[in-house]
């Protein structure tokens, strides 16, 4: 049986662990609120952009020569996957879910005979994928999941993807990120960026679509809107992922704090029992000593 001293030491260490996890929970909760506000503030831009693209696509439907960003390269050979993870751990299943989804997607695509390339965002995903798929990684981005997600991070990524597309180094591009459903659950979601699946229903529902005037012209507008849309989509994914990370960490740390509390109760009970047993033993020794005299 463990001695009293050992029990006291382990109670002390679990208590300090609990302090750390509960502090991390508070910090994550504060950061979560900020991240959520950012994610919500970025939504109107994305929504307005989708509406404009829908109208443009409706006005241009039937015309040939759609830009590569919209229609893809016409092939389905090279897939670029962009898994979005966090730089830091201790967030429950947040990163491992993304990693698992990515791994499954890679296997599926490879089984279909496609070429897969990877552009992981976030240290956790990069570390994980470097182990098995180091030769597939074309580039990686670290350090965007921190306090704030700068828009420049998204526009950099967008520019890199556009370049790969123009050099015919990719046909299909998909982001895999944690969609923020609520604080408790983040769902690993694949979002296809190229070719862009425009919702036809959305375009037709606007009765103005047919009468729109365009300045300078549809083609030029589309060429300028599409790269921007790519960046905005990536930006939205990064923001959602940042909010999800804090949510996942908050939940994980909440569980850890509760478990630590339970462990402390258990250890304290054991400590008291041991202490009582020791006292009883001492008494028995004294009494039997007195009887022997």
């Amino acid at each position: 049986m463990a001695s009293l001293k050992e029990l006291r030491a382990s109670i002390g260490s679990v208590k300090s662990t609990r302090k750390i996890t509960s502090a991390m929970k508070m910090v994550a909760a504060a950061k979560l609120r900020r991240a959520q506000t950012h994610a919500e503030a970025a939504r109107p831009y994305a929504a307005a952009m989708r509406r404009m693209l829908g109208e443009l696509a409706a006005a241009m439907s039937g015309e040939d020569g759609a830009p590569k960003l919209l229609a893809g390269s016409g092939e389905d050979r090279v897939h670029l996957l962009i898994p979005v993870t966090s730089d830091r751990g201790l967030a429950g299943g947040f990163n491992s879910n993304i990693n698992r989804t990515t791994q499954l997607t890679i296997r599926r695509l490879q089984a279909e005979g496609k070429t897969v390339r990877l552009l992981p965002v976030g240290r956790k995903g990069f570390d994980f994928l470097s182990r098995d798929y180091a030769d597939l990684i074309v580039d990686h981005v670290i350090g965007v999941g921190g306090k704030e997600v700068p828009f420049s991070a998204a526009s950099d990524l967008g520019a890199r993807i556009t370049k790969l597309l123009e050099n015919s180094q990719l046909d299909v591009c998909t982001v895999i990120y944690n969609r923020f459903q609520n604080v408790m659950s983040q769902v690993p979601t694949p979002l296809q960026l190229i070719p862009l699946g425009l919702d036809e229903a959305e375009a037709v529902s606007d009765s103005n679509a047919a009468q729109y005037e365009f300045e300078p012209d549809e083609q030029t507008l589309l060429e300028r809107l599409l790269p921007r849309n790519l960046q905005v989509q990536i930006y939205a994914a990064l923001l959602e992922s940042a909010a999800g990370e804090q949510g996942a960490r908050m939940t994980a740390m909440d569980n850890a704090t509760r478990n630590a509390g339970k462990a402390i109760d258990r250890l304290t009970q054991k400590y008291n029992r041991t202490r009582q047993a020791n006292i009883t033993n001492d008494l028995i020794e004294i009494i039997s000593g007195a009887q022997a005299v």
Binding site: H38, A41, A42, P44, Y45, A48, M49, R51, M52, E55, L56, F151, N208, Q211, Y212, E213, F214, E215, P216, T220, L221, R224, L225, R228, Q231, V232, Y235
Partner: protein, 135 residues
């Protein structure tokens, strides 16, 4: 009858309210959005957007390049960046202008698309400085 104007940057919504007229810098010249304007979509260059109540300008915003979407009842401006002219930092804009001028000098003069990109950025920053000084 007013028109609803929204100025949106990727980070947030800057303005969303009813005004009588919006004058914005279209790529092919300034253009005013008024109620009952025909639906129109246009590219914006860097410049100032002025919001009018009646005949007076109530607010002015500097927008970098972007897009605008007009319908008879609303006008949505999607700006790459947007700041109220009162908050323009002329020092930072001047610094950016210097950087861009250096990039222009260093750029390969045969790469036309790159030169065009830099030139439109230079024009946008110059417009920002003008807007800030004029205020």
């Amino acid at each position: 009858m007013p028109i609803k104007v929204e100025i949106i940057s990727p980070e947030k919504v800057l303005v969303s309210r009813d005004v009588d007229m919006v004058v914005m810098p279209g790529e092919e010249g300034d253009i005013a959005a008024m109620p009952e304007h025909a639906p129109m979509m246009l590219l914006l260059r860097g410049g100032t957007v002025s919001l009018y109540d009646g005949d007076t300008v109530t607010d002015r915003y500097f927008v970098g390049a972007g897009f605008a979407d007009m319908t008879p009842t609303r006008c949505t401006i999607l700006a790459d960046e947007a700041v109220p002219v009162t908050e323009i930092s002329i020092d930072s804009a001047t610094a950016r202008l210097e950087e861009l001028t250096e990039a222009w000098d260093a750029a390969d003069k045969s790469d036309v698309s790159r030169l065009e990109g830099i030139m439109s950025k230079i024009q946008s920053v110059r417009a920002e400085i003008d807007a800030g000084v004029g205020h």
